[in-house]
Structure formats: structure tokens, C-alpha cells
């Protein structure tokens, strides 16, 4: 079954590029969002299997968005945090967060997410 994902990132070019790459590798990117509010709308609407959230969403903290998304209860979705930082720079942040994992943006791939 195809994995359905929503990507939340405030950089439009990255959003497009990442979607293209993941689609190519067999993940269905059902929506892209540039902030927390859009993310909630997309998640409600699409009910994806996973939500990729950038740690930095401009003025918003990706960690907070991840927490709120995970706290949706039954309608909540597993969150994977993404960032241009290396994993080792943010490891402890991720560990303390509500997210189930972290993928460095430069290493983004369908396999990494799965």
C-alpha cells in the first residue's frame, strides 16, 4: 500500500523538490503546507499516514506543531521532523519531542521515512 504523506515546510522550493523526490520513490505526497494552521487543515482533510514537519517554520516552532499534531488523539498522525541541520545537532530536541523520528533534509528519501 502506498504511504501517504503531508509535508510542512515554509520554503516553497524545498516543498516542491521534496514532494517530487518522494513521489518518484513511491510515496504519495497528498498535501504540502507552509505553516501550522495549513498543516492542521491538510491533516484533517487528507488523513495521511505520516506528517513531515520542518523544525523551523519561519516564526513557528516545528516542535510545537509536531506536539499539537500528535496530540490530536485518534485523528492525530505520527510526525517525522525534518531539518537542514544534521541529526546530531538536534538529536536531544527530537528525543524530547512528540515526533517519532528525524530525517536530515539532505538525506531525505522514501526509505529514510519508512
Amino acid at each position: 500500500m502506498t504511504l501517504r504523506a503531508v509535508i510542512v515546510d515554509h520554503n516553497a522550493e524545498f516543498l516542491a523538490t521534496a514532494s517530487h523526490l518522494l513521489e518518484q520513490q513511491g510515496i504519495s505526497v497528498v498535501a504540502g503546507a507552509s505553516n501550522g494552521a495549513e498543516a492542521f487543515g491538510s491533516v484533517e482533510e487528507q488523513n495521511p499516514d505520516v506528517v513531515l514537519v520542518d523544525v523551523h517554520l519561519g516564526g513557528e516552532r516545528g516542535l510545537d506543531v509536531a506536539e499539537r499534531l500528535s496530540a490530536l488523539g485518534g485523528r492525530g498522525r505520527p510526525v517525522v521532523l525534518i531539518s537542514a541541520y544534521a541529526q546530531r545537532d538536534l538529536e536531544d530536541l527530537v528525543r524530547a519531542s512528540a515526533a517519532i523520528g528525524f530525517v536530515s533534509k539532505a538525506r531525505l528519501s522514501a526509505n529514510a521515512i519508512r
Binding site: 520554503n11 523538490t17 523526490l21 523551523h56 546530531r88 545537532d89 536531544d92
Partner: protein, 495 residues
């Protein structure tokens, strides 16, 4: 000729008395209550330099320092009423123009209109006492004692030096009231209350209006303060403004039950002390301003670094990542037969990866990502994980400290861990950060060889600047063979 008779009476006591009279080092005399010496002993000539003939011919007020004339006349009034006068001090102008302080014990004579008086030259002991008191306070100022310490010392020195019933250091508040910052005796502050409205004829009001040292008699003065003074038996007082940077900051005042005590000389002395208080305040204010300005410099630099790091991340780093992903997409969509092309692209991808890694390394040096995003907890744990020596991190903070403190704590721990790895031969490091009633205490201790020299290494020096800028303190303990411990305290952030 009653006077002549009386003088004769003293003479008639006999030879023994005459000898004592001539030999006395103290000044002995008989005088009339309207101000003429009738008989003076040789000590007068020795002390004041006038001939006996001159002293007897001119009114005694001629020899009194002009500033002390009024008090001296009042003292004569006391004698005229037939009362005794003890330890009254006034200044005399000597023949050579110099000034001597005389302390008098005077008693009405056997005949009406005459007094017997003994005086002692207390010029040197007064000067010594005053010098000692001024020196004590000046030493406090010089060694940067807290203003409270200086105020308290000044209040008690002034009260004892001027022999005053009380002395007060007060500060003029913007709302027009006076707050008492120190007093001697201390119970006085409690009695006066922390603040006093200035709405009458009292020292603090007079000094504030005039900006000049002042003298006051409370006997008929209007206002609550004057009434309160009368109630506790204070009848007069002197005060001087405390001027800081040409602005009137407060008042230094003293009061007496005896109205003769408020001399022009007391005014001068209290002004000297007011000046020392002003210096202490100015010192503290400039020191506080300096700390604040250093803190601003550090905070501005930190903020700039945070922004540069942010810009690098959002700009260059983000674009490189996107390029890398595009490259990956491109590589994946190549037809299977273009292996050569694939190898070439993969090489470019590895190159991009290395550039990204290098960029991240540069970013880390500029500002730690974990600190900006998650605070000290994740940031210090990240440092700990990267340390070559195992680190135990314990953080007990109720909330995130202000950004400048947070960054400073981070660099203290980072620098300490670097030093441990370089010099310490340690097998374990403990990092402990905790908040103690607003202050933040950071301790980094290792079980290494110790013997670290705090003066060595620019790293520690840089840390000290950072810690100083926040008004913090830093101490390094490193006994040989017994590990090294760095403890830094940051005070609660000023409002």
C-alpha cells in the same frame, strides 16, 4: 567696682592658687557675662598669641571666629541666667590668623555678672577625630563597598563625630517625598518610617529648595517633620545636599537637643560627608552603567551571531539541501543505461554533502542550533554527547533563563568541556546547572589531574569577560591531583 573686688577675691586665695593658675596648660579665666576677660592665665597668651593686656582690653567676642559668634552669644545668655555650661566648643582666631578650637567648662562666679571658666585647646583632637571618620568612609568608598554600607557608616560616623542625637541619609524621591536610606541610631529609621512627605520647614525641604547646606531651628518651624523633631526633643539640625552629577540626589542631616550644637562648622563637616556619599553613589552608578553597557555589547554580538546562523540556515544551507534533493531526483530519473552520467552526478552529490557538512560545522561555531530551538537542556546534552570525556548533565531550571544568560551558560560549559578534554586526563565530568532564588549556578567538575592555571588560556579569559558582562562571578578550583571545578554564578537578570 564689684568686678574689681571679685578679681581681687580670686587673687587673694594665695600663692598656691596663683602658681597653679600660671602653670596650667589649660586656659583659665574670669570673665564678665557681657563679654570681657577680667583675668586670664598665661596659657591664653601661649595658645592665642595675644598679650594679656590685649585680651583684657578688647571684648572677648573680638577673638571669637565670626561663624561661632552667634552660638557664643547664646552660650553667654545661658551663663547670664546663672546656669553652668559644659563642654561648649567654639573657635578662636589667634593673633597669627590661625584658628584654634577651645572647649569650655564655665560656671557662674560667686559674684553676680562674673563667670569662672576653664578651656582646653581641642583643635588637634577634633581634627584627628574628623580625619579618622572621613578616612574610614573614604576607605569604604575606595574599596567599592555597597552604597548601603557606605550610607550606614556615614550615618554613624556623623552622629558620633558631631555628637548629634541622630543623623540621617535621605534620598529625594520623584514623588516629592524623602526616603531614609540610613540612620544612626538605626531605631530612628523605624521611628521615621521608610518615607517622609516634605511639606514643611525642615532640613530636607530647605536643602532641596536651596541646593545648599543649611541650618535649622525646630522650635517654631511649621510642618510634620519639625513637629516630630520637637516630639523627640530635637531642637536644631544641620544638613547638606548630596549632589550626584550636578543633580540633587539626597540629603545628609544631623540633629541635636542642644541648640548650641548646630554650628557653621557642623554644617561644613556634614557637607564633607555628603560629598563622600555622593562619590560612593556616583561610583556605583557608573559601575552599574558599565556592567549594563558591557551586557548590551555582549547581547548585541550574540544576537548578531544568532541572526547570521539563522540566515545561513534559512538561505545557503536550505538552498544547498534543495539542490542536493533535485540532484537526487535527477539521478533517479536517469535511464538505466546512463551509468557514466550517474557516477558523475553521484560525485557531485557527495561534494554537495561535504559542503553542507562544512557549512554546518561553521554554523555550530557561530551559534548552537539546539540552544536557539530548545534551550539549555538539549544544547548542553548535545555538547555532552560530542565530548570525548563522558559527561553527566544535570539541569534544574524552572524556566528558560534570559537569552544572554542562556548563551553565557552554554559557552561556560562548552569552554570547560574543551579544557577538560585538553588538559584534565579526566574519566568523568559532571555538569550541574541550577536556579537558586533567581540566580543561576553553573558547575563543571572533573576527576582529572587538577592543577589548572586560571591565568592560562585565552578561553577562560574570554569566559570571564562574558561572565563579568552579566555581573556574574567565576571561580576555578584545581588542586593538583584532585580534579578541576569551575563554578560560575549569574545573578538574576535586572529588571
Amino acid at each position: 567696682m564689684a568686678e574689681a573686688h571679685d578679681v581681687g577675691h580670686v587673687k587673694s586665695v594665695g600663692l598656691e592658687f596663683d602658681e597653679v593658675f600660671s602653670l596650667s596648660l589649660d586656659l583659665l579665666c574670669v570673665a564678665t557675662v557681657d563679654g570681657y576677660f577680667k583675668q586670664v592665665n598665661p596659657a591664653f597668651e601661649r595658645t592665642l598669641g595675644y598679650t594679656t593686656e590685649e585680651l583684657l582690653r578688647r571684648p572677648s567676642f573680638d577673638f571669637v571666629h565670626p561663624d561661632d559668634l552667634e552660638r557664643t552669644r547664646e552660650a553667654m545668655e545661658v551663663l547670664r541666667r546663672g546656669e553652668e555650661l559644659h563642654q561648649f566648643e567654639n573657635r578662636y582666631v589667634c593673633r597669627d590668623g590661625s584658628i584654634r578650637w577651645l572647649q569650655w567648662n564655665t560656671r557662674p562666679g560667686l559674684s553676680e555678672g562674673l563667670v569662672a571658666a576653664a578651656a582646653r585647646d581641642v583643635t588637634d583632637s577634633r581634627a584627628r577625630k574628623e580625619q579618622a571618620a572621613l578616612r574610614h568612609v573614604a576607605t569604604l568608598v575606595a574599596r567599592r563597598a555597597s552604597p548601603t554600607e557606605v550610607f550606614t557608616a556615614v550615618a554613624s560616623e556623623v552622629a558620633s563625630l558631631l555628637d548629634a542625637e541622630f543623623s540621617v541619609v535621605g534620598r529625594y524621591e520623584p514623588d516629592g517625598s524623602l526616603s531614609h536610606v540610613a540612620a544612626s541610631p538605626l531605631a530612628l529609621v523605624t521611628a521615621l518610617g521608610p518615607r517622609m512627605a516634605l511639606d514643611g520647614e525642615d532640613l530636607a525641604s530647605v536643602v532641596r529648595r536651596s541646593g545648599q547646606p543649611a541650618w535649622i531651628a525646630y522650635d517654631d518651624a511649621p510642618g510634620a517633620v519639625a513637629a516630630a523633631a520637637r516630639e523627640v526633643g530635637v531642637r536644631c539640625g544641620v544638613g547638606a545636599p548630596i549632589l550626584v552629577d550636578d543633580e540633587i540626589w539626597g540629603v545628609m542631616a544631623a540633629g541635636w537637643a542642644d541648640p548650641l550644637e548646630a554650628s557653621s562648622e557642623a554644617v561644613e563637616r556634614i557637607a564633607d560627608f555628603a560629598e563622600l556619599v555622593a562619590t560612593a553613589i556616583a561610583n556605583t552608578e557608573s559601575r552599574t552603567a558599565l556592567i549594563a553597557s558591557r551586557a548590551r555589547v555582549v547581547a548585541t554580538a550574540d544576537e548578531a551571531r544568532r541572526r547570521i546562523e539563522r540566515d545561513l540556515h534559512d538561505g545557503v544551507q536550505q538552498q544547498l539541501v534543495t539542490l542536493a534533493l533535485k540532484l537526487q531526483t535527477l539521478t533517479s530519473s536517469l535511464p538505466t543505461e546512463s551509468d557514466g552520467m550517474r557516477a558523475g552526478l553521484s560525485e557531485v552529490a557527495s561534494g554537495l554533502d561535504r559542503v553542507l557538512d562544512e557549512l554546518r560545522e561553521v554554523s555550530r561555531g557561530i551559534h548552537p542550533a539546539a540552544l536557539a530551538n530548545g534551550g539549555l537542556g538539549p544544547a548542553l546534552k548535545t555538547l555532552a554527547r560530542r565530548s570525548l570525556v563522558p559527561v553527566d548533565v544535570s539541569i534544574r531550571l524552572p524556566a528558560r533563563p534570559p537569552a544572554p544568560t542562556e548563551v553565557a551558560v552554554y559557552y561556560v560549559v562548552a569552554e570547560a568541556l574543551t579544557n577538560v578534554a585538553k588538559h584534565g586526563n579526566a574519566s568523568l565530568v559532571a555538569v550541574d546547572v541550577e536556579a537558586r532564588s533567581g540566580d543561576i549556578r553553573v558547575a563543571v567538575s572533573d576527576d582529572g589531574v587538577g592543577g589548572a592555571d586560571p591565568s592560562r588560556g585565552s578561553g577562560l579569559l574570554g569566559l570571564r569577560d562574558r561572565v563579568d558582562a552579566l555581573g556574574g562571578t567565576m571561580s576555578l578550583t584545581s588542586p593538583p591531583g584532585n580534579g578541576t571545578s569551575l563554578v560560575v554564578h549569574f545573578p538574576a537578570a535586572p529588571d
